[in-house]
């Protein structure tokens, strides 16, 4: 009973909130160019899906390309940092610095420097997305059980054998946790980059449609695009969560 209630709670909360929202807008007579109600937003989606759906696809392409780049760079850096203390000392502060610098501040430079808009967007999104993969994977590699490392040494294992047969597999759970966080960050990065690039960029992603709609005061369409982004974020997070559960379960039992 309790569990059943828990499952339904998010949907129920959503429906109640939407109803309250719609009621407030309708009863208060708020015009839809200030705050549109859920029905207006839905209508805007139905009117504009021929533009909005391809826009979402475009943003998703950037997101997943960025996630792939972030994974490759994050794991490679983590492995190098685990292998060499010197490399770790040299690189770690710069990685943190890149992480704390707001992407909006660097994005214009990247868009200026990288002539190909798609690549520029992917670079921006990757910069945001790689850090959780790097730090989680590095933590996992550093936590490789000492006894097992000793066992490998006793049996004359090479560094590569330790890496591929022991350290990387034992860091897999940490990596997957990082991947899940990075997945949503890649989406954020893609949207931010599109915003900064504006019409000078790819000019086809959801963020660009949001800007465009705001210029034309098509507020319901703006909301429709926002809702699509939100749902996409949730789906990416949930899908990567499922992937994590599935991989670890099928591997360890």
């Amino acid at each position: 009973m309790n569990k059943w209630l828990e499952r339904l709670a998010p949907a129920a909360f959503g429906i109640i909130a939407l109803s309250v929202w719609q009621a407030a807008v309708t009863l208060g007579g708020v015009p839809s160019y200030v705050v549109p109600g859920p029905i207006d937003i839905w209508q805007a989606y139905l009117d504009g899906y021929a533009i909005l759906n391809p826009a979402l696809l475009s943003t998703l392409t950037v997101t997943f390309a960025a996630l792939a780049v972030a994974t490759a760079v994050g794991v490679a850096l983590a492995v190098a940092m685990a292998a060499s203390r010197l490399f770790r000392a040299a690189v770690q502060p710069w990685a943190v610095m890149l992480q704390v610098t707001p992407i909006v501040a660097i994005a214009p430079l990247i868009i200026l420097w990288v002539p190909q808009p798609f690549i520029a967007l992917v670079v921006c999104a990757s910069i945001i997305a790689f850090f959780p993969i790097l730090s989680n994977t590095a933590a996992g590699l550093a936590a490789t059980p000492q006894d097992l490392q000793d066992l490998f040494r006793l049996n004359g294992a090479s560094r590569w054998q330790v890496l591929f047969l022991l350290s990387l597999p034992s860091a897999l759970p940490n990596f997957l946790t990082g991947l899940r966080i990075s997945g949503t960050l890649a989406l954020v990065g893609a949207v931010v980059a599109e915003f900064v690039a504006g019409s000078g960029g790819f000019a086809s992603g959801l963020a660009y449609r949001i800007i465009e709609a705001s210029y034309r005061l098509e507020i319901p369409r703006m909301f429709a695009a926002l809702v699509m982004l939100g749902i996409t974020g949730i789906l990416i997070y949930a899908a990567l969560g499922l992937l994590e559960r599935f991989l670890l379960n099928s591997r360890d039992s």
């Binding site: 097992l148 006793l154 360890d252």
Partner: protein, 247 residues
């Protein structure tokens, strides 16, 4: 098999773990290193395995044969299996690291698992095994490379009494059958007395050898209750009481 000559070990933080350890170990001996925590018995095991160098003194191997990769089997306090590998693949590890193809090792792995009573669990992952079974896999893994020396660091300390007794029985039988040289670290007087052919008693801070007893308990069913065993336990208990620091 090897001799320890005035071996000392001091850690960089100043802790003196071992002080002047001298002993000769003959091939085929089952030596229990017995002592309270802090007596350096685990450190001694790591020195023997070559995982750490002694600060001074030396370990002289018979015929000058320093153990090569796989010549030493090591069993840790935890089973330390890799959770993503089946029991068979965990046992395969030492051979895999030496580049022996799995097909070639398969028969050997199965023999080892059977020897440890795990014939039917080759394809099971560690998660699905009990604590005692995991330790059996760990022992099979240590033996698969046919090491000349088996080092065991309190391997049964985390198991319940019944499981521990059965593993002790099996380990003792295995030693009798194969004649392997075994160094077994423990802080249990009963375990040392039951298993070993020789008990080296160590005193703590710094770790020193405080006694060296060769045991002679008749083999057989009632080994655990025989008068010789009970007398040995009493003797070791008295020796330990003398060397224990008063707290």
């Amino acid at each position: 098999m090897f001799s320890l000559r005035t071996v000392c070990k001091t850690y960089p933080n100043g802790t003196q773990a071992l002080d002047n350890i001298t002993a000769d170990i003959a091939p085929g001996e089952f030596v229990a290193l017995l002592g309270p925590s802090g007596c350096g018995k685990s450190t001694l095991l790591r020195l023997l395995a070559g995982l750490e160098p002694p600060s001074s003194g030396e370990i002289i191997w018979e015929n000058n044969q320093r153990p090569a990769a796989g010549d030493i089997g090591f069993v840790f306090q935890d089973a330390t299996l890799m959770p993503w590998l089946t029991a068979a693949d965990n046992v395969y590890l030492p051979l895999r690291l030496r580049g022996i193809p799995k097909a070639e090792a398969a028969a050997k792995i199965q023999t080892m698992l059977t020897q440890m009573g795990l014939a039917d669990f080759a394809r099971a992952k560690p998660k699905a095994l009990s604590g005692g079974m995991r330790m059996r896999v760990s022992i099979a893994r240590a033996l698969v490379s046919e090491p000349m020396l088996l080092l065991m660091d309190e391997p049964f300390a985390a198991l319940d009494e019944f499981t521990r007794h059965r593993l002790q029985d099996d380990l003792h039988a295995l030693w009798r059958r194969t004649g392997k040289t075994i160094i077994f670290v423990t802080h249990s007087i009963y375990e040392a007395a039951y298993l070993a052919s020789r008990i080296i008693i160590m005193s703590p801070r710094p770790g020193r050898i405080a006694g060296d007893i060769r045991t002679a308990i008749p083999e057989g069913e009632d080994r655990r209750t025989s008068p010789a065993y009970v007398n040995l336990v009493a003797e070791v208990t008295h020796m330990l009481r003398e060397v224990m620091p008063h707290e």
